[in-house]
Each structure stands twice: as structure tokens, then as C-alpha cells.
Symmetry: C2
């Protein structure tokens, strides 16, 4: 990409772990007595702690947002093209935090962790989590890191739902919310895709009701199918046509059930790769996090009412060919924010890549984010600790 | 529906079986030495045999197109709203033929049939079939029934592909081709959905490499997931939103993996029902029939060249909200037909139901089909047997 900015990697990074011993009551009613969150940070927190940016992850990502590991240089962060020195979110100016959410499978407490009450992995007994629960645990991490107010909370897709939820759960703790490729809730079709993915996993005989760790197995087949379904929804029809079309692997049909078309090869590869590193119980829970997100539900169906507490400024971005969370859905968010007379910048990026566009390097998209963060950086932040008394912060654990 | 026509059912129908002992060489190169096709007919063949209509089935349907069975009155034909006395395809005027295609699981020779060479079910050894193979076997059935030329060959979706293929494989044997909710080939995204469905079936431990009959089992789990995926693509996003939306089964979230949203309940029910009556090996093959259909492939990518032999008149119908085979894809067919200066009527029906619309009662849609068949009925057909010498008919088996 050429955004006219000389950019480089944040370099070698090291994940860290924060332990929280104050019990947290989840939206489901379940209580988790103690938990750990794995996180990474890039750049330096400034003296008045006003330059922190929280990056929230989507379905399959985690805390490893940028840079690479000393012992595994090929393992580059999932949003490395966005975050780094001279990049759109410039780590020479901002202190960026990535965190693996509760229920994850990359080090934070989740279904693979040991349940202290039984001494065995939580497995199926790990509770269902929600966007609200994640925001609550992220707020505790912010307390732990001494961040009273984020310059920005940002994310794409499910990550954007968290960036949005932050603004009405902790109005005083977010200056800007960057909501990319988002929707105010899942459509019936979105839920349908999630449900098929879940059924593929749950009906895999290796699932063992979610207690597969004890059987030393994984519902790999189900997870593979689930991921293949996901990939179809991440790419636009046009992008799939451009990338794979009806291209035959061997130039002519074999009339067999071997891999025949390039698109089959791509999906099988993506499915297999994913099923080797991702935990099925986490996948199930994250699809439920998506399904349940619906801020308007508690407000008589009014998104505007749900967003009424928000005080942040917003950048909302959608992509023309995203059929998972279409621009129309982003415009619902923009409308509800404007109904609340909030400061909103909205951009609809003409990009061919579908939902995946939020992860890709597109010059117009990256220049937009760079310009917006330049604005954030130039804004006079409120004095250190301003408004802290009004937040819902629960204090460091 | 009120099409202004008093309509009733064709009543009790009885499937019949035609046996073919002349070997057929399939497009894959495989040869099937002998086979049976199960079919039904409604109405009466007229004296000059000019009023026959062949109805081709799509993915999960078969020969039971209209009416019901004496011993099973609830088992109504899949296109009963379209075909019957006074219905759009009026069986008081037309002799309608429905046939279960080769490779099917409703009585025609297919993977569940006994392979005469082994004395055991074909299972995985049953060859891959194609639209072209189906048209060839349907032509033999026409010979068997003494039908030299069809007044019309019609179908929706995969059925429409057969109606289209008839016109260039047997130009002299089709007066009209009714091509509904069709595409000239599958897009990469269409193939992707089929491939995920196949992987769900093939990786089900009960699949046993396709030889599950011997294990007295069925890959029910895989077939269930496959069907759920299919259903998502049959309905439009809007129709799903209108029918199910985010409706919770119990009015409020349970935060569990039980059925939570109405759409989940619908998909689970559809998947389970289907997996109880449909054969997985047939399902696999029919998805391949769809994938391979691509008349332009042998003509340097030119659909117009592929359709050049056609002499039929065409009715092409698409539905605005069909995202599986969108109107855009139907227009590709119309364009190629017009390039060949063929007689084409094209209608794009404004309907909310997505791909499924072709099966549903929509007054505008049904009036259109009725009007078109009225035209067919009023046309002076050529004399009996006209042009038979020029057809590619292989003669009755």
C-alpha cells in the first residue's frame, strides 16, 4: 500500500497476562470468580494517559494485533497493516492495546482453561459470554493498565460491536469510537449461517457434548465445515468470481469428488488450517456473542435510545460489497447516532472484497483511518483523569 | 391464489417405471448398462402427440410433480400449484410428464439401487451424472412414451438447466423451453455452498466413503447440515427477516445452546426432515450436476455459441430477490438467446421470496405461466412426427 506514509512494523512483541480476582457476573447470570486476560501493547502511553487505543477483535482473531514474536517471526499480528509506526494507527503517537476476550482460546480464560471448581477444563461448562461482558472485562483491563479514558476504541465486524458498546456502557471512557463493517444486530440470515456452523460442530461425534478435551480429541470435521461457511460470507460474490471463478484445478472436469474447482481447494484449505488451531467451544461461544448483540432490544427496539448515553465521536466505515454486514446496516447505526446529535463521520468505501475488506490494505480506507487518527492526535485531550469520577470503572482488580 | 381460473388437483396419481436396457455412456465416460426411470403423467396425450410437457426437477424433488397418492393423500406433488386442471399448466389441455432423474433416490436407478455387477448397492460406485446425461435419458423416456416432440420442456433452478439443455441437444424435439430461476452456470459462490454441503456429508463418520448402506447407516448429520446450508440460499435475506427476524422462541434470551431464535428452529426442522428421506449419495451427485453445468465451456466460453443449435421459443423468468440465481444471470441467458435471434419472452418477477419463489404461488408469476401456456396451446403444432428424422433420438430402448 502507498498511503504516502513511510511505515514499518512495531517489531518484536510479547504477550502479557493480567489476572483478575474480583468475580464478574455475566449477562447470562453466570459468575466467573477469577480470570486472566492476555494482551499486547504497542507504542508508549503518554504522560497524561490520553493516547490509548483499544483494538477489539472479531471472530477468529485475538490479542496479537501487530508485530511478530521473536521465536515465531512468521506469526504477524492480524491488523499489522493498520497498526505500527507511520501506519494509519500510528504507534509513534498512540499506545495501542490488543486483548484476547474472555472465552477465547489464545491464552485468556476460556473453555480450554482449568475450571478451579473441578480441576478440569471448563469445556461445555464455560458460560455463554456477550459483547457486554467483553466490554466489562476490557474496562477492568483498562483500569489495570491505568487507562481512564481511551482516545479511541476500534474494531471491525464483531470488534466494531464492542467499539460501539463501549460508548453507551462507559460514555466517559471513550473519546472516539471507530466502528468498521458493523451492524446493529445480526439479521435472520446472519444467525442462520452461525446456526449451521454450530450444528456442524455440535453434531460432530468428536464433540462429546463439549467435553472433548477429556476424550483427547477435537470436533475437527465440524469446525472445518463451520469455517468454510464463514469464509463464504466474508468474501463478496464478485471477489470470489474474480479470485476463483469457475477455474478448474486440472483445466478440465474429472467428474469425481476430488477437488475440482479452485474455490473448493481454497475452502478446504482454509477450513483445515483453522480447525488445527482454533478451539470449537470458543468458536461456538463467539457465534453466540454475535447472535445476542442487539443494543436496541432493551430499549423497545430503538437503537437511538440504546445509544443515547454515548458521548464519543464516531467514525463509521462500511464497504460496498460487504453482504454480511452491508452498508445499509451501518447506516442504521449512523442514523441512530445522528438522532442523538452525536459527531459522526461516515464513509462507505467502494471496495470489491466483501466483509474481509476491513482487514485488507485499501489505500482509500487506510488514508481515511490515518486522517481520522491524525484528527484524534491533534485534538486537545481533556486533562489527565478528567471525568474519572463519573465513569462506571470498577477500579483495578 | 386467484389467477381468475377455477383450478383443482389432478387427483390420485400412480408412478410408473420404464426400464432401459440399451447401455448409456455418461459424460464422465462411465457406462450404465441398464437402468430404470420412475415417472408420472397427468392429462392425456392428444392424437397427434403434440401436447406433451416435460417437467424437470431440481435438487431435492422427483417425478411426483402433481396430485397425490391413494395410500398417502398428504403426499402432494412438488409443483401441484402449477400443474393441474385449470392451473397455469392446464392438464385439461396438456399431457404432463414428471421423471425422477438417473442417480436419484426416489425409484429411478441411483446409488441406492443394486449394481448388477456386484449384487450390492452402487453406493459410492454410482457414477457422477450431468445435466447432459439427464437430458439423454429423458429423451429415451420420451421415445418410450412415443413423444417425438415436446410442446414444452420446463423447470426451475436445476430443472431449468435441463429445459435449456434440451433446446441445443435436441433442437427438433422442443417447441418451447420454460427456463425459470436459472443461471448459465454456477458462480464461485454457488459452488462454494455446494462444496461445504458435500464436505459436511463426506466427513460424517457414518458416510463410510459412500458405502454406508452396507453399514446399515446414513450420514444423517452431514446431510442435515447440507440441507440447512441449502435453505439459507433458497430464501432471500428480506424474506428470512420478514418470516423469522430476530424472533426469540421464548421471548427472551436464554444464553444457552438450545434453540434460541425462530430461524434456528426452522433450519433444524428442515434439516432433520430432509435427512430422514433423502439419500446422501444422491445429494452429493446432484450438487455436482449443478457445479458441472456450463454449456459455454465447450464453446470457448461463449454461451451464444452453445445455444446456437436451439430452435425453440423461450420463456425465461427470474425473481428480483433470488440471490442464488439472480436476474442478472437469467439476463445472460436471454442475451445469448437474442444473439441467436431466437424468440424470447423474459419476465423479472418482483417477488420477496428469493430462489424459492419459483415453487410458490405468486399471482403475477402464475398468470404469466398460464398466459404463456395458453399461447402454446393455441399455436398450430407441426404435423405428427414432424422433423423426427432430424432429431438425435436414439429410439425407444
Amino acid at each position: 500500500m502507498d498511503t504516502g506514509i513511510a511505515s514499518k512494523s512495531v517489531g518484536v512483541v510479547t504477550p502479557q497476562t493480567a489476572k483478575f480476582t474480583e468475580p464478574i457476573r455475566l449477562r447470562s447470570g453466570a459468575v466467573v470468580d477469577e480470570y486472566e486476560l492476555v494482551y499486547e501493547t504497542y507504542g508508549a502511553l503518554n504522560a497524561d494517559r490520553s493516547n490509548a487505543v483499544l483494538v477489539c477483535h472479531a471472530l477468529n482473531a485475538a490479542h496479537h494485533v501487530a508485530g511478530y514474536y521473536a521465536d515465531d517471526p512468521g506469526n504477524v499480528g492480524w491488523w499489522d497493516n493498520m497498526i505500527g509506526p507511520g501506519k494509519p494507527v500510528d504507534t509513534d503517537r498512540f499506545f495501542v492495546v490488543g486483548v484476547n476476550n474472555l472465552g477465547g482460546c489464545h491464552g485468556s480464560t476460556g473453555p480450554m482453561s482449568i475450571n478451579p471448581k473441578t480441576g478440569r477444563p471448563w469445556g461445555a461448562d464455560f458460560p455463554v459470554v456477550t459483547v457486554e461482558d467483553w466490554v466489562a472485562t476490557q474496562a477492568r483491563l483498562a483500569d489495570y493498565l491505568g487507562i481512564h479514558r481511551f482516545a479511541a476504541v476500534m474494531g471491525g465486524s464483531l470488534g466494531a460491536m464492542q467499539a460501539l458498546a463501549w460508548t453507551y456502557h462507559h460514555p466517559q471512557r471513550v473519546r472516539h469510537s471507530i466502528v468498521i463493517a458493523c451492524a446493529p444486530n445480526l439479521s435472520a440470515q446472519n444467525i442462520a449461517f452461525n446456526e449451521v456452523a454450530r450444528q456442524a460442530i455440535i453434531t460432530d461425534p468428536d464433540f462429546h457434548g463439549g467435553h472433548y478435551y477429556e476424550h483427547h480429541t477435537q470436533p475437527t470435521r465440524g469446525l472445518r465445515v463451520a469455517r468454510m461457511i464463514g469464509h463464504i460470507t466474508y468474501l463478496s460474490d464478485d471477489e470470489m468470481a474474480a479470485k476463483f471463478g469457475r477455474q478448474l484445478r486440472n483445466g478440465r472436469p474429472n467428474y469425481s469428488f476430488d477437488t475440482e474447482f479452485e474455490i473448493e481447494s481454497y475452502l478446504r484449505h482454509q477450513g483445515s488450517k483453522f480447525s488445527e488451531y482454533f478451539d470449537a467451544n470458543t468458536y461456538l461461544r463467539i457465534t453466540k456473542v454475535l447472535d445476542y448483540f442487539d443494543p436496541a432490544l432493551d430499549h423497545g427496539g430503538s437503537l437511538a435510545k440504546a445509544l443515547a448515553p454515548a458521548q464519543a465521536k464516531f467514525l463509521v466505515v462500511s464497504f460496498t460489497t460487504d453482504w454480511r454486514f452491508s452498508p445499509e446496516r451501518s447506516r442504521e447505526i449512523v442514523k441512530a447516532l445522528l438522532d442523538n446529535r452525536l459527531d459522526v463521520t461516515y464513509a462507505e468505501i467502494n471496495a470489491p472484497h466483501g466483509h474481509d475488506a476491513f482487514l485488507l490494505e485499501d489505500p482509500r480506507y487506510h488514508r481515511l483511518i490515518a486522517a481520522y487518527f491524525d484528527r484524534i492526535g491533534r485534538e486537545a485531550p481533556p486533562g489527565p483523569g478528567a471525568g474519572i469520577g463519573e465513569t462506571r470503572s470498577r477500579g483495578p482488580a
